[in-house]
């Protein structure tokens, strides 16, 4: 249970709300339509394909649900979603195949 006073909880919520908003607003809001140098743009073109894969790497390799132990069903699901997504370019197909493999794997292993 949280042992904080109500007002302190609200201070935390408000600070996180304002802070998160400012982070999200930052470049998009303050730079407006100013043109960034080409070398910066070149790096920014790779933001999505680096941050998002890195973000989920620990979730794939060391899932909390298995106490941080690598899990064959989850690894197979991640790999199949990657292959199907890469080949078909269709996120829905990748999600569907990933989930089917996940449940099949969990049924087989578990």
């Amino acid at each position: 249970m949280i042992a904080m006073s109500d007002w302190l909880i609200w201070v935390i919520i408000a600070a996180l709300g304002v802070g998160t908003y400012l982070i999200r607003f930052s470049f998009l809001g303050l730079l407006g339509d100013r043109e960034l140098p080409e070398w910066v743009l070149r790096h920014l073109r790779y933001t999505a394909v680096t941050i998002l894969p890195a973000l989920i790497t620990p979730l794939v390799l060391w899932p909390q649900a298995t106490g941080g132990q690598p899990d064959p069903a989850r690894l197979a699901a991640a790999a199949s979603a990657l292959v199907v997504g890469y080949l078909t370019k269709a996120p829905v197909a990748a999600i569907a195949v990933g989930l089917v493999v996940l449940y099949a794997g969990l049924a087989l292993v578990g």
Binding site: R24, L28, R45, L52, G85, P91, L99
Partner: protein, 233 residues
């Protein structure tokens, strides 16, 4: 091929955003349940989802509050989790920076992982599209994703039941993110950047405060940009 209008582009965004309810629903509900069980009242639980609107940061803050961490530590740790969104903001700027301030202010509020990832992929594949269509697409994508985050939190807080663990929906996050990223791996530079980021995320996993994520992201971006530069020259 008909010409895309703002309306048709908006609905294309809505359709592309729909599959991500698979992540938003279970995690919003789980946050509602866990936050309520931790002793937050309904207004506080909903305040989190409305004002912060970032699942990972909300869970981080909640866990630290339960552990009785000082308020400043709670705030700094949860904001560190969200710092990646400054990179999202920067990478959207070349595409959306010319939009009116009120649109950029709204887009900033709704700049969550899913809306960012879908939108940037669309913009990078078709950078020549006009600004109004890029804005319409962003609003389309967030339409199914963001409001349902509030609804899911509310259901979790009121009903008090999350989706059972047997459904393994903990893994919906990685699967949907992989589904977002795999189609974006269009060139060798993209693939190399992603591989380097994943390897660095493993090697630097021990770093605290989400620093590993920035090492991984920066390293991958440098590799991608360098390959692109060499191929262009």
């Amino acid at each position: 091929m008909t010409t895309a209008t703002a309306k048709s582009t908006y609905f294309r965004g809505v359709r592309n955003g729909l599959p991500f309810l698979l992540v938003v629903m279970p995690f919003g509900m789980l946050f509602g349940v866990v936050a309520t069980e931790a002793g937050l009242n309904l207004a506080q639980v909903m305040g989190f989802s409305f004002l912060v609107i970032a699942g990972a940061a909300q869970f981080t803050a909640l866990q630290l509050m339960v552990d009785n961490a000082p308020a400043l530590i709670v705030i700094a740790s949860a904001l560190a989790v969200n710092l990646r969104m400054a990179m999202y903001s920067a990478s959207l700027q070349p595409h959306l920076g010319a939009a009116p301030l009120w649109q950029r202010a709204l887009i900033a509020y709704f700049n969550v992982d899913q809306s960012y990832a879908l939108a940037i992929q669309d913009y990078d594949a078709h950078p020549e599209r006009p600004l109004n269509l890029k804005v319409a697409y962003f609003f389309g994508v967030l339409t199914p994703v963001c409001p349902l985050w509030y609804v899911a939190t509310l259901i979790g807080a009121l009903v008090g039941t999350a989706i059972p663990e047997e459904f393994a929906l903990d893994f919906a996050v990685p699967i949907t993110f992989i589904a977002l990223i795999a189609p974006a791996l269009r060139t060798f530079a993209h693939v190399a950047a992603a591989v380097v980021a994943v390897v660095l995320a493993i090697v630097f996993a021990f770093l605290p405060y989400n620093l590993w994520l920035f090492v991984a992201g920066a390293g991958g971006m440098m590799v991608g940009a360098e390959i692109e530069r060499r191929r262009a020259s």
